[in-house]
């Protein structure tokens, strides 16, 4: 097989991968209920941490960094295996921990949000796995 043919096959492969990547995520549910681009930063105290599937959740009493308003929030994480691969652990959080999160809130205004980045009091940062997207604000 000629090098030209190899290059063509590689190019076709790259195109095919591109086409697949624009397809919706095949996780068991979509992240569509959350704001697609809006991200906010919340700082607060963990009140509950539920490590389980299909999703890990934690709750915080938090103040909005921009408005200063205090509210109780439900934060959605990925599955346990995705978070394990992202460096989390089943006992990473406990009630009383101070955390800062960058999240995309629900579009319908209810106080729940999809996690983009978790920062612990000691400064360590954790993603929510690539499927949930990355933080676009500081």
């Amino acid at each position: 097989m000629s090098p030209g043919c190899d290059r063509l096959r590689l190019a076709l492969g790259v195109i095919a991968i591109g086409l697949i990547s624009i397809a919706p995520a095949r996780a068991h549910h979509s992240f569509a209920p959350y704001e697609p681009t809006l991200q906010i930063k919340l700082s607060g105290v963990v009140t509950e941490f539920k490590w389980g599937n299909p999703h890990v959740y934690f709750e915080i009493d938090a103040s909005d960094a921009a408005s200063g308003a205090t509210r109780h929030w439900l934060i959605e994480g990925a599955s346990t295996s995705i978070l394990n691969r992202a460096g989390w652990k089943f006992n990473l959080l406990k009630p009383g921990d101070k955390v800062t999160v960058i999240v995309s809130p629900l579009r319908n205004g209810e106080p729940a949000a999809l996690l983009k980045q978790l920062t612990l009091a000691d400064g360590r940062k954790f993603s929510n796995g690539a499927a949930a997207g990355t933080a676009t604000i500081e």
């Binding site: 095919a16 086409l19 068991h28 389980g52 959740y57 439900l74 796995g129």
Partner: protein
């Protein structure tokens, strides 16, 4: 003469003592181990390690060759679901209810899977929903009407050289892959083979005389992930539920 006779007897004894699986799979590397779907999803589900040898991704799964009026109904549902999702109101799904995907969807390997070759059987364990398939080798396939409806159906297989050919019947009619309806007469044929040491190909063919005008075929590929240990995935509490009036997936906030 006596030596020849001994050789013949020993050869026959060796053949008789060989387990069935060794007789049936031609020489080559075992497919036992952990696998992730390929191309690697840029979504955090995989190892993030590309194959050693660049390899073209399989073509996207084509639209199902459904009979009418099922094809028009399917297109309408797909368009409606896409529109609802765009508005942030995703439609209910089996995953929302924590139900397993079943066949053939489970072989899409949303999360990694483990394949185990043992004498007389190949077992496939999907991390997603802890789903398990048992493929009985050289066993008599059930007639579809005799197969108790199950999520994973009933699978029998045989080695055609180094290709594992699997026949599956008896998939519950409530199981939907890509929202495509099927009958109790659906038959799934898979041809699973190693392309090289680290890449596995699965050519899937779905036949259904009641719903399809012709076989629906596509290819899935998997990449070996030798260091991965499959994790537990019990779907115990999905906080998403079907909104009773608007019929979309809604998050239980409190």
């Amino acid at each position: 003469m006596r030596f020849k006779l001994i050789v013949v007897i020993l050869t026959a004894a060796a053949a008789a003592g060989t387990p069935a699986w060794a007789q049936t799979r031609a020489a080559g590397r075992s497919i036992t181990g952990s696998w992730e779907v390929y191309p690697l999803r840029g979504e955090g589900f995989g190892s993030g390690v590309p194959p050693k040898t660049p390899i073209a991704a399989p073509k996207p799964i084509p639209a199902p060759p459904l009979r009418q009026p099922h094809l028009d109904q399917w297109r309408a549902v797909q368009a409606q679901n896409a529109e609802l999702t765009r508005k942030g109101l995703p439609p209910p799904s089996s995953g929302m209810a924590c139900m397993p995907e079943g066949m053939p969807g489970m072989m899409g390997a949303t999360f990694p899977m483990e394949i185990l070759e043992t004498p007389g059987q190949v077992t496939i364990i999907e991390e997603a929903y802890n789903q398990v398939r048992r493929i009985f080798l050289n066993a008599t396939a059930l007639a579809p009407e005799e197969a108790e409806p199950r999520y994973a159906g009933h699978s029998t297989g045989r080695w055609d050289g180094t290709t594992l050919v699997v026949n599956t019947v008896g998939v519950k009619e409530s199981v939907r892959f890509r929202n495509v309806p099927h009958s109790a007469r659906m038959r799934i044929t898979e041809r699973i083979r190693l392309i090289n040491d680290e890449m596995l190909e699965n050519q899937v063919t779905v036949d259904d005389p009641e719903y399809l005008t012709e076989p629906w075929t596509w290819t899935w590929m998997y990449k070996r992930w030798p260091t991965y240990r499959i994790e537990e995935y019990v779907c115990e509490d999905n906080r998403y539920f079907e909104d009773p009036t608007l019929r979309y997936q809604r998050l239980r906030v409190n």
